[in-house]
Symmetry: C2
């Protein structure tokens, strides 16, 4: 057997993030305010600090990764590029399967790549406190870890039902020193309004966002941290794909296809955008975003302006969306339950540079279990979406005899998702196709532009 892992030394870690905007054939459409005009920086500065905002707007191809960020990255990065040779053998495929193992971070997912950067830049800007929201807790735990590294205080609004039913991610955030508040809370107007309407409100991600944003907007010393969707978050994640390209170079291999799960887009962008740079330069490569068929934003959504949050507090953005009032079914890949998608990912899909496909839930867990039994690691439910698509492609290669090189992002481990595996193994998981009629109806409720 060849070596399983391709490693990089810390000295080989990328020194810059890659900004895809520089290579996009068409400029991205700006977020718009209620008046239909591009949102000015002063509005954004209420919740984001200046360095973050500069990155959000930057047209530069390469953005330097500051040394203190690289030092924290070095606690787990560069992450290994692994060859899934035992999975190939189990499938009997001529395809070669590689994955980037992002589960090795302290928080267990790719999320700290942006969390560390956000904590650092806010600290640099003199910010003492941050707020954020979290559902099941992946982003919240990443930012809790990151803010602890730079001694920034953090308050996390955690969807109440997760706060109560999934206490272990909460304990993780508290171990890293973050304050975790069940949302809706009585600390914000949004929370108090919700509790007044319904004292037993179990919370939602949209509401938790509103609480975190409201607090950040109302306090001079506090800024807000976001885990996906926006340009700066995607930017920070490109360290994944940049490392992977170096690793593939070392073994003189280049992928035919790149797969990643896609919810808000940071996971997919992180691994795929650096390869898009090659594609823009004429290289042949397919970039595939994989989403749940229960939340088919990219494959069935509208390409239209919509709010980023449920309550309609944010600017509107041009993206694929199922409607901001979309009620996500309670699937187990919590990180993929988002009504919209990153504007950058959406635009590249619209313009035909990337592909998207949707996979049903039960099949993703079957893929995850097959992966675990071949390669050891038990993947996060989000990662299982990419694994499903890769296995399907590998089985297709078996039919055609093509020795394609398939590469995916193993974005996280499933240690905090074993209850979902339990339900799968007990035969209790179900598929859910989001109804076409609901998607059609959402079109009517999209905000009118201009």
């Amino acid at each position: 057997m060849a070596a399983h892992k391709v490693l990089l030394e810390e000295s080989e870690m990328p020194t810059h993030w890659y900004n895809v905007v520089a290579d996009m054939p068409n400029p991205p459409s700006p977020p718009l305010g209620p008046d239909g005009k591009p949102v000015g920086p002063e509005q954004m500065l209420q919740i984001f600090s200046m360095p973050i905002l500069e990155q959000e707007m930057s047209p530069e191809r390469w953005i330097p990764i500051p040394e203190p960020v690289r030092e924290i990255y070095a606690l787990w990065r560069p992450s290994p590029l692994c060859r899934a040779e035992r999975l190939e053998q189990a499938l009997g495929t001529p395809a070669k399967i590689y994955y980037k193992n992002e589960s090795v971070s302290p928080a267990g997912s790719h999320k700290p790549n942006s969390a560390v950067a956000q904590a650092y830049f806010n600290k640099q800007a003199g910010i003492k406190r941050m707020t954020t929201e979290t559902g099941a807790g992946q982003w919240g735990s990443a930012l809790a870890f990151a803010t602890q590294m730079f001694e920034v205080e953090l308050r996390i609004y955690m969807v109440k039902i997760s706060y109560e039913q999934k206490p272990f991610r909460r304990s993780m955030m508290q171990t890293w020193g973050a304050e975790v508040i069940a949302s809706p809370s009585n600390l914000t107007q949004a929370g108090r309004n919700a509790l007044e309407r319904d004292p037993g409100n179990p919370g939602s991600l949209g509401l938790a966002i509103s609480e975190a944003v409201e607090e950040a907007a109302g306090r001079e010393d506090t800024k807000y941290g976001l885990g996906s969707v926006l340009n700066h978050v995607l930017l920070h994640q490109t360290v994944i794909g940049l490392e992977a390209k170096k690793q593939f170079e070392k073994i003189n291999v280049y992928p035919d296809m790149v797969f990643a799960p896609c919810g808000g887009g940071s996971n997919f962008a992180g691994v795929a955008f650096p390869f898009f740079a090659d594609k823009a330069a004429g290289k042949k490569i397919r970039l595939v975003a994989v989403e749940p068929s229960s939340c088919p934003t990219l494959t069935k959504g509208h390409y239209a302006y919509d709010f980023g949050d449920e309550s309609g507090y944010t600017p509107i953005m041009l993206m694929y969306t199922l409607g901001h009032d979309f009620m996500p079914p309670s699937i187990h890949a919590g990180g993929l339950r988002y009504h919209g998608d990153s504007p950058l990912v959406s635009q590249l899909l619209k313009e035909g540079f990337i592909e998207a496909l949707a996979v049903p839930q039960v099949a993703t867990f079957a893929a995850g279990v097959q992966f675990a039994r071949a390669e050891g690691i038990i993947p996060a439910p989000e990662s299982n979406h990419a694994i499903r698509a890769v296995i399907d492609e590998a089985l297709n290669c078996k039919k055609t005899g093509e020795p394609k090189v398939l590469f995916f992002n193993l974005s996280g481990h499933g240690h905090f998702d074993m209850a979902s595996y339990d339900r799968y193994l007990a035969g209790k998981l179900e598929d859910y196709d989001y109804p076409e009629a609901e998607i059609k109806a959402a079109l009517e409720r999209l905000p009118k532009v201009g």
Copy 2:
């Protein structure tokens, strides 16, 4: 900052395990049967396969690691050697702190180092099935992963109260294809007897061992797998210390002190025995086994012959023991709740080559939280024992100004132990010193030899 991690390529992984017996000044005492005579191989072969038994008895210094075992090791090994520079800074110590990160294995601890070897050698011996026991699930999940890799069936007797209260490790074992049975069960005589006495019996590790051993002894196609204590298990774990020595060589550093948590002994032996080889050759180095003050086997136990299990089914072994009918307090470091200790570790302590110290529970969690906030990784409660001892030594260095090199084994992560961190953070954890009177009384109940 210097690089955080010292990496090895897979090609640099050790090719042999190190057998400490070859360098011990005095030969180890053999296990004895009920007649007071050394146990013959035919009795051992009822539950262990021949290659395992050969390793258990071998006097050879170096035992080859078969290529298929190295291929599975390569899924995560060599594990990184890390410098805890942020922890040093937080402590303000002149000491240099290094740790071996064994939490990167698929099962999240060092346990697979032996599990993979045991699964492989049993497979080679034509064994189709294995049995084992598990408490909270660390060893069970390691062997579930390992047997899946070699397509050996596995039945795990899991202490019933853990089976019910800690379902996530159980789901992990099932994801890797193992059958998990709540113990006591009606599948064995030992289980049926226990249930007859008390239908609501919550189980114990001793009883689960009895069930697993009984089944293996009664079936031709089935052998038993053990997670610590015996020589062959300690042998397999030496891959940790052997890698660490290569890694220290690369940076031209040599530790002054090596620390590891110690329950059955495989964790401590794995990291410390390869350094003992240097000590036996005259090198100056201190090797420190750290145990809970609630289960002070090495620091307060009797050095005497005792049974390995609660029920008295096993041969008797010369070791430090609190008495085989010791009732372990329900501390959170489940892996350290064992009445005895490895005979090899015990003998080296008795003969003055290693040291032992006991630390109280609350202080170990304080150390774990301090480590997590400095270095990111949330450690297993077992690992926190070593971290406590290292922090105390580093603070001592701060007083004396000595720039000692302190090295410890981060034996696992705490992802499945967040409920314990939760209790610590809520101020609900308590210390428990095992009463001296109980230890004295146990002496009367030890088996009589000869």
